[in-house]
Symmetry: C2
Subunit: 233 residues, 2 copies
DNA sequence: ACATCCAAACTGGTCAAGCCAATTATTTGA
DNA sequence: TCAAATAATTGGCTTGACCAGTTTGGATGT
């Protein structure tokens, strides 16, 4: 899905429009639950055609930022309960992300331990080996890390959970696009991550659900800690 | 967000088209990596206009089913790693959905029990009362059910998890659209659900994390069971 | 003064036809 | 034979129009 490193290719128009609208929403120009200008007006405002705006709106609708009501208008998704957790300084997104991953992938590991196949274990071992090689070569094993987590998710036997794991890893999913992906990993950091991966693998191979859950949880908690250290904010 | 009760709304055209194309892909009419007919041809084939087809393709692109290469064509996404967990017969979506909710919302309840606020408890109580009223009036408390679950999610203190809970509840999220929303609830069914909700509330009020998790898990497992009974398939 | 109803004015939903730009296939010329 | 020029194909985007639900505000009757 993500090759070596993609240079800034010219994004499609609908994506740029979606970005602009997201920015407008986050910038507070529109309150939650508020109605956006009509498609015709908004298109003119943004200097694009209605079909293009429409494509952007569909993207935003799928991602849940916006709700389109036929004949009525386009509304910022309200989600009333959201206020409850917006008390502080609009949440440490990366921290929350890692906590969410710890919760979800912990459950996934629990399920996977009970039903992982021999092929699944082999795939995991290969992912670990690849990760080891990348680290030894002084590279960041981003893809290998991803593969490890997604393979486990696949072995959980639940495609819905697997899909969520993928979304969380790729940071598609939630509020801001923000792309916090700028990680500050050192080789040492990755060596630790590898060790934690191995612990997870061992638990899965032993088919020990609770241990697998615990190891996965520990791994992602450690990841969160590593992130917080390098991002004093 | 959604009024009293929404009767089976006619889905938007782009969603229907997306469904058709997904069906074509899954039906094996197109191998992974293969190229779909050109937009103009495909639109004519499906009997829709190109802009509408275009909207559907964007939805499929976002969800990762296809890849659009400008000037070249539309290709079924290959995604080598993804195949790993698509072994079986493309899973019982509803069952998987409820299992995923049990896992995620179990964790959410665990977290919420530890930090729920007095206001949060009040909101939950109100949601429960509203649900009771709806049931007494012989209506389906769909919105109240949703509010209960989302309120708990909000009290977890993690917006990423809360977002996932919302997505799962609304059945936005995953591969096949399928929209299984056609539930076969009876009044008796809803009375049971209410009782389970009350058990969850009690655990949260007692601030007992493990109990809250267990009750939430039990509730969603029961929901799954209720669904399977009424849908012998 | 008030409730009711209904029609005009929105708003999103969809279609048609066309031009531009990137890619791919084909022809042409050395 | 091969490389460059060219034509055909494909997605990207726009304009303009019409259809179908929603809202709204005023006409109407009580």
């Amino acid at each position: 899905m993500n090759g070596p490193i993609k240079a800034a290719e010219p994004r499609r128009l609908y994506q740029q429009i979606a970005d602009q609208i997201r920015a407008l929403i986050q910038g507070g120009h529109f309150a939650p639950g508020a109605r956006l200008p009509a498609e015709r007006d908004l298109a003119q405002q943004l200097g694009v055609s209605r079909p293009s705006l429409r494509e952007a709106l569909i993207a935003l609708e799928i991602e849940g930022s916006v709700e389109i009501r036929m004949g009525s208008g386009i509304y910022i998704t309200a989600e009333p309960e959201r206020r409850a957790w917006q008390t502080g300084s609009m949440g440490e997104s990366p921290v929350e992300l890692m906590e969410a991953r710890a919760a979800v992938e912990g459950s996934v590991a629990l399920a996977a331990a009970a039903r992982i196949s021999a092929e699944g274990l082999t795939s995991l071992r290969e992912a670990l080996d690849a990760m080891r090689s990348e680290i030894a070569a002084g590279r960041k094993p981003l893809d290998q890390d991803r593969l490890f987590h997604l393979t486990i998710a696949g072995q959980s036997g639940n495609s819905v959970l697997a899909h969520i794991v993928g979304d969380l890893f790729d940071e598609r999913h939630s509020p801001l696009s923000a792309q916090i992906r700028t990680r500050f990993e050192t080789p040492e950091t990755w060596r630790n991550a590898l060790r934690e991966h191995e612990a997870i693998y061992d638990a899965l191979e032993a088919r020990d659900p609770l241990l697998a859950q615990a190891m996965m949880h520990a791994h992602l908690e450690e990841s969160k800690r590593r992130w917080m250290e390098n991002e004093p904010r």
